[in-house]
């Protein structure tokens, strides 16, 4: 990295995501091949201190959990078919409160769909990953710079909150090569999981006001570690549904929402007097930025909100949107998953979407929708 604008590199998002995650503190990658996540797998073989090829995606998540229990911070990269297999194990890791990042590279579904075609169709799935209405913190990079910043944030959040975190991206973000000025990339802090340092008995799920329990790896011989994916009390003992155990489970959601402001990231580019707001995330954010640039060049007033922290859904997004008469949500899926997440099935007045499947949404479609008489 050099200061000055001449240091343009020709790179893809996978490279930045991998480097960022490792610098942020990830030390293990466990992978099962799947297009379009294969570049992340390839880079992992070169970059992580430990890289393992698992025989399937259930095993992937189980091995990751095992590594995390032993004190490591693991990462994987997959696409919908693999994520679907991981589902129960992600629930397990969330109950164990293990830090890990799952990079979910979206491609065209349903089912095997088209492996080589990008999409943004898995937000609803990620939103519903945990049974019972609990949330996995979920981030999405909207350009190459975010592949750097947001990936590190995702890993730091996984470590700080002791939870699986999803980095939701898509084919073109991780595979398209782009001339990128990397002279301004921020330094990334390497974080470690906070371990128990008391001299009294270690209680695995006991928390202070942070709501995040101290960790103890099973590698040490001083304190018994007891982890269970079933409903459990603070000591880690399985309980049917004692008040203490239910409180402990509810804490999983409370810890994630309590700290949201510490990891809530979005770009808000507001124009004075604008009545239109374009909302987007991930790969479609770039088309949205271009559309907003074109609209402004034509003298139109328009604002732009690019969500980078997708889950938990921030109230801020809705509050911002409610300042506008017209809201256009841009995303590459059939029915508007982000739109429904923000505004519910009922929607609101002045709300519409630009949606597409099997192709990238182009700036001109967004321009047209913003200009459309509503």
């Amino acid at each position: 990295m050099h200061p000055g604008k001449t240091s343009l590199a020709f790179i893809d998002g996978s490279r930045l995501i991998t480097e960022s995650l490792v610098r942020a503190g990830a030390d293990t990658f466990i992978g099962y091949p799947i297009t379009p996540a294969n570049l992340l797998y390839l880079y992992a073989t070169k970059r992580y201190p430990t890289m393992l090829a698992a025989p399937d995606e259930i095993t992937t998540l189980q091995w990751m959990s095992g590594f995390a229990i032993a004190g490591h911070v693991p990462v994987t990269a997959t696409s919908f078919p693999g994520y679907a297999l991981m589902l129960e194990s992600i629930n397990m890791a969330a109950m164990f409160e293990l830090p890990m990042v799952i990079v979910l590279v979206q491609r065209l579904g349903p089912a095997t769909g088209t492996a080589t075609c990008g999409a943004q169709g898995d937000l609803s799935l990620v939103h519903g990953t945990l049974s019972g209405g609990y949330t996995l913190p979920t981030f999405s990079p909207s350009n190459l710079n975010d592949c750097w910043d947001i990936s590190a944030k995702a890993l730091h959040t996984a470590i700080r909150l002791r939870t699986p975190v999803v980095l939701l991206t898509s084919k073109e973000m991780v595979m398209t090569l782009q001339a990128f000025d990397w002279s301004h990339l921020a330094e990334i802090e390497t974080l470690k999981v906070k371990t128990f340092s008391g001299s009294d008995t270690y209680i695995p799920y006991k928390v202070d006001e942070s709501l995040v329990p101290d960790f103890m790896p099973v590698s040490q011989n001083n304190h018994a570690v007891r982890l269970t994916a079933s409903t459990h009390d603070t000591k880690g003992f399985l309980q049917n549904s004692t008040p203490e155990a239910i409180e402990n489970t509810k804490r999983l959601e409370a810890k994630v929402t309590k700290h949201l402001q510490e990891y809530l990231l979005f770009d808000l580019d507001e124009q004075a007097g604008a009545q239109h707001l374009v909302v987007s995330y991930g790969i479609s954010a770039q088309a949205s930025r271009e559309a907003v640039r074109q609209l402004r060049a034509r003298g139109e007033k328009v604002s732009l909100l690019v969500a980078k922290t997708l889950l938990p859904v921030s109230r801020d997004y809705v509050d911002i949107a409610n300042r506008y008469e017209r809201v256009v949500v841009v995303e590459e899926n059939l029915t508007g998953q982000l739109r429904q997440l923000l505004f519910g099935a009922a929607g609101r007045n002045g709300l519409s979407g630009v949606n597409a499947i099997a192709r990238m949404i182009s700036p001109s479609e967004i321009v047209d929708e913003v200009m459309r008489k509503f």
């Binding site: 050099h2 001449t6 343009l8 590199a9 020709f10 490279r15 991998t18 480097e19 490792v22 293990t28 880079y43 070169k46 970059r47 201190p49 430990t50 393992l52 259930i58 095993t59 189980q62 091995w63 990751m64 959990s65 095992g66 590594f67 995390a68 229990i69 032993a70 004190g71 194990s89 088209t114 080589t116 350009n143 073109e172 595979m175 398209t176 090569l177 782009q178 001339a179 000025d181 990397w182 099973v218 590698s219 011989n221 001083n222 304190h223 018994a224 570690v225 007891r226 982890l227 269970t228 994916a229 003992f237 399985l238 770039q286 088309a287 930025r289 271009e290 192709r359 990238m360 182009s362």
Partner: protein, 422 residues
């Protein structure tokens, strides 16, 4: 031998007479015989009646999902990479059925761990349904007429998969020596403990005797293999280097001569260098001080069918990397024409460079017919189309493209001169 407690001494959470009791007690005894301390041991338990025994153990305890305990334990073992820690899995025949992949995989890779299969020949926790381990003739509450197929022989399976130690025992009395042999094996070991579920197995098969049943099922009670040498080593990349190598940077040396962003599509066949040609084009643009992006499109199988790439070059940073309507299109094969027909149809201006072997698609663009394939061969046709278009469109000096080409190892095989002749 020590007499350190591994069990709390509290009541075990099983029905009266359940075979799981003996496994817990013999495990404690075997660990004492080997002089382990509780926190040297990580007990990973599955979902099932046998699994809730974790609350009685004073070891580290991890209680995960149904059938996945062996995969979770493999991760713990590989993550610890510590020969002084003992990772033990408790699973049922149900867990072994749904998670068979993890047992085969564990034995195959040689993770340092011991799996104790509590084979009571049915799913106890869910009410006595048959598993894949249920032997022929064995009855369960949901199968009162008795199973008509034989059950898995997990020991033979583990032997074939490469386990270091495999033994089947009938889980009556003292079998702690068997467990101790497994626990002290380096690598993957498995002990199958034959048991009876008093609540469902005994009730459905009155008068049944376990040793006789095991014998009739054809399951040998013996050591199947011992002291095999296969131990998983957790790979360590001792010197991982940054992915942000300066080699990825392209320092401008020439200057570009475009008045607005140009989007270029190359469409040809897989194996004919389309992606490489597109990358050269983009890099040459960067060598000329321009921004560039390159996005590939191809079917799932890499080696057949079309291969297409979209390149955008611009003086300004490029936000949107798609290009639904290219300004310039190069089509070098029939596959490529098939793919690019739609894009060609959308073009209201611009130029299409197309191989002379192909028919001209419907388009509003100017078309230029070139014998790409004939002149340089199919393999180099796409590269040639890039040289040709740069030579005629003058986005930037030809030298830029030439420099990029010469810096690539392909220049050792293919002479650049064949591309420079327009």
């Amino acid at each position: 031998m020590n007499n350190v407690k591994f069990l709390t001494g509290g009541q075990l959470p099983f029905c009266k007479g359940c075979g799981h009791v003996a496994v817990a007690q013999n495990t404690e005894k075997a660990l004492q015989k080997l002089d382990f301390n509780p926190l040297d041991v990580v007990l990973v338990t599955d979902i099932g009646c046998h699994g809730i025994v974790d609350k009685n153990f004073l070891t580290h305890n991890v209680h995960g999902l149904h059938g996945r305990s062996s995969a979770l334990a493999a991760g713990i073992s590989a993550g610890l990479s510590n020969p002084n820690k003992k990772v033990i899995v408790f699973t049922g025949d149900g867990g072994a059925t749904i998670g068979m992949q993890h047992l085969v995989g564990g034995a195959h890779l040689g993770f340092d761990m011991t799996v104790v299969v509590h084979n009571n020949m049915l799913y106890g926790m869910t009410g006595g349904q048959p598993s894949e381990f249920t032997p022929c003739g064995f009855k369960t509450p949901t199968l009162p007429e008795g199973s008509t197929k034989s059950g898995y022989d997990i020991c033979e399976l583990m032997l074939a998969a490469g386990a270091a130690y495999v033994e089947r025992v009938v889980g009556i009395g003292d079998f702690s020596d068997s467990l101790a042999r497994a626990f002290s094996t380096k690598g993957f070991s498995l002990v199958e403990v034959m048991e009876i579920c008093t609540s469902y197995g005994v009730k459905s098969n009155p008068g049944m005797k376990l040793p006789k049943l095991v014998e009739e099922a054809g399951w040998k009670v013996k050591v199947f293999t011992e002291a095999k040498q296969r131990l998983f080593q957790t790979p360590q990349n001792s010197n991982p280097t940054s992915l942000l190598s300066e080699k990825l940077e392209v320092e401008p040396k020439y200057s570009g001569a475009i008045s607005k962003p140009v989007s270029i599509m190359l469409s040809g066949s897989a194996g004919e260098g389309v992606q490489l040609a597109a990358e050269f084009l983009a890099r040459a643009a960067m060598l000329s001080g321009l921004y560039a992006t390159k996005k590939g499109s191809y079917p799932v199988t890499v080696g057949v069918g079309y291969s297409a790439a979209e390149v955008i070059i611009s003086h300004e940073p490029i936000l949107y990397t798609g290009s639904p309507v290219p300004d310039i299109l190069a089509i070098t094969s029939a596959d490529g024409l098939g793919y690019a027909r739609t894009a060609a149809g959308r073009m209201k201006g611009g130029t299409i460079y197309i191989d002379q072997s192909l028919d001209i698609p419907q388009t509003g663009a100017e078309t230029v017919v070139i014998p790409f394939r004939e002149k340089v061969g199919a393999q180099n046709s796409s590269l040639y189309s890039v040289f040709y278009m740069v030579g005629s469109q003058h986005f930037f000096p030809m030298e830029a493209l030439r420099d990029i080409f010469m810096a690539n190892k392909i220049s050792q095989r293919v002479s650049v001169d064949i591309f420079m002749q327009l």
